[in-house]
């Protein structure tokens, strides 16, 4: 591998933000293709980070630092990428249903998705159905991820899905759901496309649905 690409890879894995930015600039200056920098330098580094997480070597805090390093690198890369017309893995609208204030599970999923190069639009918590619909429209999202942590709010997910249907957007998006009181059965019963029992499995689920 090119020396600069290797350095980018390394700095993302180790979560060195400024180093990543610097090395991306050097690679661009050297004439390396932006898409190559993205994929071989950064996306593959984030895969390695994922592997380290699976192995128990990294925890979420380390993943976050790596993800931030990748963001820094991306901001340098963006202008060059725009020309090369590169797609993100996909756009995801994410939020916790109305009536529910639980944040952290949703944040973890968002973070994991970003790590896998998804573009994530986070609507926060206590999100009414209309706001999901609006965000899908505005952002042209391919995936909607809905979270609920309470037995009394899990049924509100159905309302979100109905609103998406009513807006005629159901065929445009895959809907994934998660949260402690849910089960795969429940997800199916409300018409979701997928269910993930924990945040770390949400990425694989999202990828499989838009593959």
């Amino acid at each position: 591998m090119n020396k600069n690409l290797a350095a980018i890879y390394q700095s993302v894995v180790e979560g060195e933000s400024s180093q990543t930015a610097k090395k991306v600039q050097e690679a661009l200056d050297e004439g390396i293709n932006a898409e190559v920098i993205l994929n071989e330098g950064m996306v593959s580094a984030m895969s390695e980070v994922g592997r380290l997480f699976e192995q128990g070597e990294y925890f979420v805090p380390e993943m976050l630092i790596s993800a931030r390093a990748m963001q820094e690198g991306l901001s340098v890369l963006k202008p060059a990428l725009a020309k090369a017309e590169v797609r993100s893995t996909g756009k995801v609208v994410i939020g916790t249903v109305n009536g529910d204030l639980h944040d952290i599970g949703k944040n973890l999923v968002g973070m994991m998705l970003e790590g896998a190069a998804f573009e994530v639009i986070d609507l926060g918590t206590d999100v009414p159905p209309e706001r999901f619909v609006e965000a899908i429209k505005t952002n042209g999202a391919q995936i909607v991820a809905i979270s609920a942590l309470l037995t009394t709010t899990m049924n509100n997910m159905k309302g979100v899905i109905q609103a998406i249907c009513a807006a005629g957007l159901r065929k445009n998006v895959k809907i994934i759901v998660g949260g402690a009181p849910l089960s795969a059965d429940f997800a199916q019963s409300i018409g979701a496309d997928g269910y993930s029992a924990d945040a770390s499995k949400a990425v694989a689920l999202a990828k499989s649905l838009i593959a």
């Binding site: 128990g56 805090p61 952290i104 926060g124 309470l150 037995t151 009394t152 049924n155």
Partner: protein
């Protein structure tokens, strides 16, 4: 007016034991918590369903069924007393009349049980901290604050014996601090924000309790310490970080007692072990029999010093034998029977059983280790030697990290290579915490997003 805890209520580890607390809490019906026996504390919740005017009849039926089921089983198993915790769902706090109506329904059923079966019971009512429905949270004024306090009042009038809450001041910062491994932000959330909010909140709760002759029981740093424990259980954060957060929640939860709470502290508040050591108040805890609500590495050791023993919560679903609340009730009764039988045989027997609980778990996980009575006494002593919530939280961090290191050296726990790397990293962060609270606040201020936290809600 606030009480200051400067020495431990329990000094000797051999006085630190399930069922006995220096300052037991007695109810009007004569039931005494912490007076020698451990009683079950059962908690139950709705199955998956919404709460709204149309579903309220069904909500009522569900609670009637659950309280009916658990009282029936308690009578059949000759329980001599138990507590029910009714933890209000957000919708039941947002509509305080509904919350109070369910309180009344539970009260009546428990009164009936007292009359027909001579079983003494306790009703703990825990409104939800709905103040975070505003983002950033509005903690001191506005509709949510008003409704929440009205809910406390209505539930007190409707027959609660104890009032409690799992308050969330500072959580808007702390969630991120957990997943970032950011010690300073955690200290800020707990030692500055959380503690200040606790002072405001518990002054109010205690005054409501006085007005209605109800017992102000305690708070739980559930949204802090248990969030971390659950994330550690899922391998998202290191166990050592979760253990550290647990110890750092102590000064924050202690504020409730400084303001007049008297216990029994909340079940899910594992910091209660420290609260009991410091204040002498009885506490509720939960462990193996609460696996229905959360998995944990502390299922047995949590039985070392509780005065109430809880299942945390279970939905009203049907299992093969019976409803899940019935099953929980039976399990809690057997668990407490064992402890009380040991106590019946004398203190030596009770301590022997306590030590089995302790030794079952304490070497296997640092989160269990910090619940060892001797460890909790030692850390509690160091924490209350400091004068303010901030300094206590800082000390909690420093003392806990030191304790982890020594425990590893003494081979009382076994930290993995990765955990040891974290131990070093967290120590480096802790060492940078300044002596001065003002300095610390000044350091933290620029890192805070005003869209997330409203410092004026904390007098900052």
């Amino acid at each position: 007016m606030a009480k200051k805890y400067q020495e431990l209520a329990i000094k000797d580890p051999t006085d630190f034991l399930f069922g006995v607390s220096p300052y037991p809490v007695s109810l009007k019906n004569g039931l005494t918590i912490g007076g020698g026996k451990v009683y079950p504390e059962i908690n139950f919740t709705l199955p998956g369903m919404g709460i709204n005017p149309e579903t309220m009849p069904e909500v009522r039926d569900q609670y009637a069924q659950m309280i009916g089921d658990v009282t029936k089983r308690a009578a059949e198993l000759h329980a001599d007393g138990f507590s029910v915790e009714y933890e209000l769902l957000p919708d039941l706090t947002l509509n305080p009349e509904w919350g109070a109506e369910i309180t009344k329904l539970l009260r009546e059923k428990l009164d009936g049980l007292a009359q027909n079966e001579a079983i003494k019971t306790c009703l703990r009512v825990t409104p939800n901290d709905i103040r975070e429905f505003s983002r950033p949270p509005l903690l001191r004024h506005g509709k949510f604050v008003d409704d929440m306090f009205r809910c406390f009042e209505l539930c007190a009038q409707a027959g609660a014996d104890l009032l409690a809450i799992e308050s969330t001041g500072g959580k808007e910062i702390h969630d991120d601090a957990i997943i970032k491994g950011d010690l300073a932000a955690s200290v800020f959330a707990l030692g500055i924000l959380g503690s200040r909010d606790m002072k405001f909140l518990w002054e109010k709760i205690v005054s409501i309790c006085k007005r209605y002759d109800v017992i102000p029981s305690g708070d739980s740093a559930c949204g802090f310490g248990n969030t971390a424990m659950v994330l550690a259980e899922q391998h998202y954060i290191p166990r050592i970080w979760a253990a550290l957060i647990r110890v750092m929640t102590v000064p924050r939860s202690l504020v409730a007692f400084e303001e007049g709470a008297v216990g029994p502290n909340k079940d899910c508040a594992y910091e209660g072990v420290y609260i009991k050591a410091i204040t002498g108040a009885p506490i509720a805890l939960e462990g193996a029999e609460a696996a229905c609500a959360h998995l944990s590495p502390i299922g047995n050791i949590a039985k070392a010093v509780p005065d109430l023993w809880s299942n945390e919560s279970v939905q009203n679903v049907k299992l093969l034998a019976a409803s899940a609340p019935t099953v929980s009730m039976e399990q809690l009764i057997y668990a407490t029977r064992l402890m009380n039988k040991a106590a019946d045989k004398g203190k030596g027997s009770a301590l022997a059983l306590r030590d089995l609980f302790i030794d079952s778990d304490s070497a296997g996980d640092v989160q269990a280790y910090i619940l060892r009575p001797d460890v909790a006494l030692d850390l509690s002593r160091q924490i209350i030697a400091e004068p303010t919530a901030y300094l206590r939280t800082r000390k909690a961090a420093l003392a806990a990290l030191d304790c982890f290191r020594k425990a590893q050296e003494k081979r009382e726990i076994t930290l993995s290579r990765v955990e040891l790397r974290w131990l070093d990293a967290l120590s480096r962060q802790a060492d940078q915490l300044p002596d001065s609270e003002e300095e610390f606040i000044a350091q933290m201020r620029p890192t805070l997003d005003p869209a997330k936290v409203n410092l004026s809600e904390y007098d900052l």
